[in-house]
Symmetry: none
Subunit: 95 residues, 2 copies
């Protein structure tokens, strides 16, 4: 149980990260926030990443501690300076 709770911090987990306009969304393995941030420029063809927010509600994730609580396949949106999260326009949230 101890191992399940603390977990090996280095086990990579799957995440999904979209660029600002959602034209690219990629599955990326990362063992932490820093690892994910390092992989983003190449994966999404962005030159700089100002912040990482949750796709579902725009929550900014900027600590390893909070990042480690996220489920597998959590969806992020990458924001550059001056960009703000807006709800996805794919109809999922519109009934």
């Amino acid at each position: 149980t101890q191992q399940l709770l603390t977990g090996p911090a280095t086990r990579p987990k799957p995440f999904r990260v979209a660029n600002f306009n959602r034209s690219i969304k990629k599955g990326i393995m990362a063992d932490g926030l820093r690892d994910l941030l390092n992989k983003l420029p190449d994966a999404l063809h962005v030159s700089s990443v100002c912040s990482l927010v949750l796709e579902e509600d725009g929550t900014m994730v900027d600590t390893e501690e909070f990042f480690q609580t996220l489920d597998d396949n959590t969806v992020f949106v990458v924001l550059d300076k001056g960009q703000e999260w807006t709800p996805s326009d794919n109809g999922e949230y519109r009934l």
Copy 2:
């Protein structure tokens, strides 16, 4: 347990892959991303595969690591250059 977690990477798993306009969808066994990509041209009668995205949300899958985390019978859509994923038109996302 160790074996369950890491798994034998070469055990083939079933996947479902559709062409761009969803006119063909096939069940294909593959032990990895490379194996699946190799089988796609013949299976779907496409000449080239630019990228493989998840049918559910358009997430691009381009690493073996991420591919190995996917469930059996995950549904993919094959995209050629210039094609972009759009939500399935089968009503699942439209109420």
